[in-house]
Symmetry: C2
Subunit: 368 residues, 2 copies
């Protein structure tokens, strides 16, 4: 972790520009290489336990009718990011888009960035080509996610150094930002494990019970699908040796959120291990819970077609169907055509959610 | 503001139960009265400047074939909320739903709460009938919204009193909770005005610039449409005498977010002035801006059918078309078929957003 911004991205951008300049000066066509992010180049890395890119590389060249425009756009993006880093200012991809539109829009015949959809893949090209994250290029991604627990955040931001105590954030919790790598440090992490809960409402429930205090854990909610910053932070906490348990709904969306945290996702396969936590375990809720907690029988809901379809798809993935426990679990959903929400655990009494989690962790009853 | 929870809701629930008991004991059919929330009973209150309910009341009676089930459900909800208040625990509407399903599901022939859609309107019935908010009944609504500025939050939560300094939250900001009325207090509010910005990305931009520090304002983003807690907090800050400026996109969604903050919304008309801030002003972005900031000419986007339709609809509302400036603004959108995003202001340079806001406030160039 770095309390000071990593200068790596700046150096990489300088090299990137230097190479292009050298090629132009020596009369060659400027070009750079990136990895293919097409589906055929995305695979599950058995050893690392994450989705990542294969070795198929692609060349982006200026002297190529089909690529000239994209090449120029990528160089323009690199130039803007270099400026942002030097200014020590951040923006969103939308902000970058409008800067490009502003500075390039009138110098060329047509607006080269009419649609943001055009700039997104080029940013990914840059990330992959340089081997840095967009956050390192001072581009914020959408943020979402909240945290409470025995740890402190040292946030060097806007010229000030703030120390935020994540155990003193009351009902609100600490907002997980987009960038958890630069000018920020996580210190005094005294917890024993990380508990990730899908829904903010359940996070609030557990926070009110002081669950993270009593059980000494870091309590995180991605508030639905986990944003880049939240996934990255979970990875960093796992790097500190903390076990990671994920507590989600037993349905298509809950499983998807879990596997995204664990193995990464197709979209972000290019970030590989940096954004995945293969050590994560699925704590619940599960179909198996119904056999142990009798009241859940009347809490099940009818599974939707999406849930069934998702369960069937998941059974095809090698990294899921190699786990017998997951095969059994998903087959139960397909067979009974039912699903279960994590909120159901509030049925007997509001504080039962915490008791359930304690019992499951103590008995090591989780899915791989 | 109350650092201790208001006991009003508890008293109201006791009276509610007491009345029903009295009626049963005296051989009468138990009943209660609520206000109609149908469209015909929602009007714009000219004097208060908010959308609110009229006087059409509706009776909910137990001895009525069409109402017996709903009546029983409402009493069950009241009973659960009374329990939550006594336990000093909160939950979501989903949590309440599962508690009802748990305790009532097997005593009756059919599950009386199969769908959450059934319990939502009944909670509103209770809120209106008792004259309290669901937050006072220990039911959390979805939360969204972030804040930074020179103020402190005293949050009595889970048995601890936390003092959170909203000027020391780094890149993250303070998360605005669902309940900003009970066991929570806002103190040392030293700002001169409130600035509400639609998008979280723009909030982050201004936060990084230290805009709220330099201009001494409370910087809020509802992060899209404003949640109940955020709307209520804006109201409370306005009650402290702070002017409220709203900075949104110039499109259907941006206008909608503004008018919801200002006059309240159809859905929450029953909360009337408690959740509306008629004093709010629309700072931008506007079609008029294009005439003053030349670069915006090339930043406009094609308005969608939704935008045009929304502009036309808004021109029909008496509380909007009474303002000449709004009529002109909306007509410009309809005529030019263009719209404008707040992000465009990052075009010339990232820090231009703040300069624009300063200029507009200084010149008092905002819409009513």
């Amino acid at each position: 972790m770095k309390e000071k911004k990593d200068q790596n991205a700046k150096k990489k951008l300088e090299e990137f520009g230097g190479e292009i300049l050298k090629e132009i000066e020596s009369g060659k066509s400027p070009k750079f290489t990136t990895l293919s992010r097409s589906r055929s180049n995305i695979h599950y890395d058995e050893k690392k336990g994450v989705l990542s890119l294969g070795k198929n590389s692609e060349e982006r060249s200026f002297v190529n009718v089909g690529q000239a425009k994209r090449f120029m756009q990528t160089v323009a993006i690199a130039s803007k990011c270099y400026k942002f880093i030097n200014e020590d200012l951040h923006t969103s991809i939308r902000g970058l888009f409008y800067q490009l539109k502003y500075s390039l829009g009138e110098d060329v015949d047509e607006n080269i960035f009419n649609e943001q959809a055009e700039s997104n893949p080029l940013i990914e090209d840059l990330e992959v080509s340089l081997g840095v994250k967009r956050e390192d290029l001072n581009l914020n991604a959408n943020r979402k996610g909240v945290l409470a627990g025995n740890m402190r955040i040292v946030d060097n931001f806007g010229g000030e150094r703030q120390v935020i105590d994540a155990s003193k954030q009351g009902r609100s919790g600490w907002n997980i930002p987009s960038d958890v790598d630069n000018d920020i440090e996580f210190v005094d992490v005294k917890a024993k494990f990380v508990l990730v809960v899908e829904k903010d409402a359940i996070w609030q429930r557990l926070n009110e019970d002081g669950f993270w205090k009593k059980e000494n854990c870091i309590l995180i909610s991605p508030q639905g699908q986990a944003a880049r910053g939240t996934r990255r932070l979970i990875r960093k906490l796992a790097d500190m040796g903390l076990p990671v348990y994920v507590f989600n709904d037993c349905d298509a969306w809950g499983w998807y959120i879990y596997w995204t945290i664990k193995t990464g996702s197709i979209n972000l396969a290019y970030m590989g291990p940096e954004i995945a936590t293969p050590e994560a375990r699925f704590l619940g809720v599960t179909m198996e819970d119904i056999e142990r907690y009798d009241f859940l029988k009347k809490m099940v809901m009818k599974a939707s077609e999406v849930d069934i379809k998702r369960a069937q798809d998941m059974l095809q993935y090698s990294w899921i169907n190699k786990h017998k426990a997951w095969v059994e679990e998903l087959n139960k959903v397909i067979k009974t055509k039912t699903k279960l929400e994590q909120d159901t655990l509030q049925g007997p009494r509001l504080t039962f959610v915490g008791q359930y989690i304690k019992e499951k962790i103590a008995a090591k009853r989780f899915l791989p």
